[in-house]
Subunit: 333 residues, 4 copies
């Protein structure tokens, strides 16, 4: 940790700060420049409260030199992690296509979509059962019944299933779910993360609406430090001032996360853009940038199909996209 003092730092307070730091069993290397003094702290700085020090009147800035994430850090685990969900491998060269409807609606719907995406080579079936909604008056999903319908689709097609978990109390309902999704709004619900670290199912952790990569990795660290190292990261768009798309998909997060961490990184262009016709170009862009998988919304519902539906692709559009994604992956290999 590096502490840069202000130019006009009071020597008495500087001494007090140094004593206090030494009291925390840290070695303090003092480097006096022409204009400013810099303290280099060596030792176990994990207990040092950066925010506290940064706010001191004599301090200009503080910087943590060694990132304090461990389990997910590529430095300590140079090889790509390969996470397995229901027999499907993700990461380390294994690319997974996750597809399915936004919400599970009926048995007919989910089974039909599952068969369609399987025919187009999808690896995992997605479908919302518990839905986090901004308004308490909006449709909240079929809940446990939705999971039961996903299980039927799994039995009919053999596809592993992923669905979102919002509360640890619901975990018993997820017995046959292969991959647990933590949504953007719960990325920093630390109690949920810790509990998911105490069970063994793999977890797909979505980046929050306005969270940095460091915060995402720290949330992964909550799960891993609690005992479950089967974590997949997911970029799904961040909130900006953008006026045409629902969110701004941060494609650069994909190569950056893969540099910082050994965990697989999946991209969700459907939620990132909210516009079906942007899903194919953004899916291809994510694949070109090195993603380990894609999560794509596909519907097979005449009501949606009627009007080309929102952010979801039709099975035919999905099939065309799947082929293009394969071609892009070939090109960048």
């Amino acid at each position: 940790m590096i502490v840069v003092l202000k130019e006009n730092a009071d020597p008495g307070r500087e001494k007090q700060l140094i004593e206090w730091l030494k009291g925390m069993r840290l070695d303090v290397h003092i480097s006096r420049g022409q204009f400013q003094t810099v303290l280099g702290l060596v030792g176990d700085t994990s207990q040092v409260d950066m925010d506290l020090i940064a706010g001191l009147s004599i301090v200009d800035s503080v910087k943590r030199v060694s990132e304090n994430f461990k389990y997910c850090n590529r430095k300590f685990h140079p090889e790509d992690s390969v996470i397995e969900a229901g027999g499907v491998k993700i990461g380390g060269g294994h690319f997974a296509m996750i597809a399915g409807p936004c919400s599970v609606e009926t048995e007919e719907q989910i089974v039909a979509v599952a068969k369609a995406v399987k025919a187009s080579g999808a690896d995992i079936l997605r479908g919302g059962a518990f839905k986090p909604r901004t308004s308490p008056y909006d449709f909240q999903g079929l809940g446990g019944e939705g999971i039961r319908l996903l299980e039927i689709a799994k039995r009919e097609t053999g596809l592993p299933i992923i669905t979102e978990i919002m509360s640890i109390g619901e975990l018993p309902l997820f017995d046959n779910v292969d991959l647990l999704q933590v949504g953007a709004r719960n990325m920093q619900n630390y109690d949920l993360l810790r509990e998911l670290g105490r069970q063994k199912k793999p977890v797909l952790l979505k980046r929050g609406l306005a969270n940095t990569l460091r915060e995402l990795l720290m949330s992964a660290e909550y799960i891993m430090a609690s005992g479950n190292e089967n974590v997949i990261l997911c970029e799904r768009g961040i909130r900006t001032y953008s006026d045409y798309t629902r969110n701004t998909m941060d494609i650069s997060a994909i190569p950056m996360l893969k540099e910082l961490s050994h965990l697989p990184v999946v991209a969700d262009p459907s939620h990132a853009t909210g516009i079906a016709r942007l899903v194919p170009p953004m899916a291809m862009a994510a694949a070109a940038a090195g993603a380990d998988g894609l999560m794509i919304e596909v519907h097979n519902d005449p009501l949606h199909a009627l009007c080309d539906g929102a952010q979801s692709l039709t099975p035919a559009q999905y099939d065309a996209l799947a082929g293009k994604v394969r071609a892009v992956r070939e090109a960048v290999r």
Copy 2:
């Protein structure tokens, strides 16, 4: 709800969309302009999925005309709500000063700070017991023991207490807590909000890092629609590209929330800025803009005092600020 069709909308698809909307028991008023067609939907539009319609290929945009928040909406409750916490009233002209340390550390500390802020006229004592931390390796608070120490300070000073709840499982520990705080990271933890709606203690709900006012009000609505109408809103800074302060305090949210809702609005300049010397000007600004209360960090810890400490004020600084806030409130009345 208003649906604006694209200029070149296919008449066949337009007809299908209108039929589908009518099938949802909505009256569809069609207004054909020179360039575009606008559909005005009348009836119960709460079941209509705006995102779905917005994504249709023939649709340019969708706008919900009547905000779908009810309990917190000033339209249906023109009078200011007055919320009571441990005998202290907030809102409707009652201004509350909430003060105390960031974290509860020791009995000596919390009792000393409680006495100091009480002497300066504070109404409620704050102190973190369960602390949401970005890193699992950072200090997570004293938990239940922290609440026990807050209870001692409450007994010694008579001040009601507020502290953050992160998980509904911890609720039994909060029996003697007067006001439950939901932190920014949990603003959209809907399961927690619903559970807090099923009990009767008042809830102070902090705005999330990148959440709009509508989302904040919708989260309040989750609590209120579940049965607990005792909600206080709190502006605590939003995440922007700003380089000097931790967050950007959105002061305009205070008058805007008070226009949209009858709930009291409190401001937290300590977390919003992260810099002690900015707390007084921002506290005064919030009071000038019409806040119903302030939440201010105050420490009385030699380690912090040593260095003017971070975002917390000393008791003397707090005392001076409290006087100025009173003067500003007089001026704007």
Copy 3:
């Protein structure tokens, strides 16, 4: 234009507003819903000040239905535009690789880089002569001398050249420049845009740091409405709270701009990320998303090469990337 009135709009003021609108020779279609009234304005609404109406006490919101950009609008020009710069075509299937150093430094440097990138198939040579710098104390570029050196490199290699223009007074110096660049900071320098519209050289217009796509298109419209339709748009990253990259590259802007406009769209991954090792994945992502060209920083300077240098690629890295970009373009065609 659509004006949504508030639920409780005063009928007297509503009548005044309608009279005023009619006084501007607009037809006002009134649609009264159960909860609200909507006014549909038909006629020449280009003179109506949306901001004024949106701020009226009886108005809930205003929406302009027909985008008021004309020259760059794909609706009125469905075919892709092909812009020619020094004999190189961009757009409509013509993909341009623009490469070169951030700043022109010496004749040796610019000629060496020009030869290197030409050997790797680059179409246009870039190099900064007039440099917009945040600080007046930073290196401001070689100015006219830099353009002279670019001209030498052009003569030696035959590559057309692009460089940034910051002020219309410098235009005479750009006689032999093939493509004029307007930087992000000047995207809304309307006087400059108007002047560039009064000459005939093609203009590459970069998106501002926090500008929407509509604002970018409106700035293009300034140039085109002044008489010069040879405009190329450029996505170069937007400012967000991101902590690892300099900007957040908004890849979705590429397909979205191409939907809204017929103008070519080029991407600049070097400035968008500020990190050389992110340039290849982001360049490939942009190509996969449908960009019409790429602008890539390449250096050939031992001082930079010494340390793998910043956001610039070495000629060897550029050569490898150029091959991959070709492969991606094949894959997505």
Copy 4:
């Protein structure tokens, strides 16, 4: 300047970097911690390209310790600057009320508003003549004729006048203007800033839409380093994801700018919010936070008055606000 090397930095490259830095006549202090090496650079680092070094493969981060702004830096000029415009003082305890219409429309209008705001104690008259508009098809202001009308109002009331300058070519038209405004879109139009530094009229410099405080100060530095130290800074709202106000007014910028710089800081709540009924609370908040002046839009036009008009106050509303602002200033003194 501090350069933090990566943990696994190659010793050969580290040596090359250090040699290169020494070649720039810098002293390099090397501090080796347990995990990382830190280089402290002492000497004239103003020529060192931080971005270049930050991008090197062996470098983790770079931090400039001493801010490189000089003229506007409070460190080198501890006293508040007092800027004079047309005989009115701003800064150093002198508070200025600047009021007037968004655009100059007619002689009757500008003279009537000028008389009204003067009667309410306004110090300076504002009014837009050259208007920067997003669209080339929107009203661009009366230009030189608008300035002529402002001059009439000045003669009639004795109020000094401020209006925006967009291009240095228009400077001769501003002979009788007392204070030149640089708008948000031109905050980084460096050629304009440099030219305004070569004349002597005071300049009110508005913060750009997404610019940091450091960038704003650097733009002030452009003017001051060119010879004109009469600069006033203006906070007018930044672009965020906010959904209810046009911009988010960053009130904390006011005390922060005054800490960093000796220049006066004025706030513009009219443009920051875009909503007339938010102007009074935000004006009072800015005054409470220590602003040296306010810029308020006031109209006196029956068409606007008809409907309570947008972001502008009526003269009566302005008069009431002016009184409250005086009371707030008394309270915080």
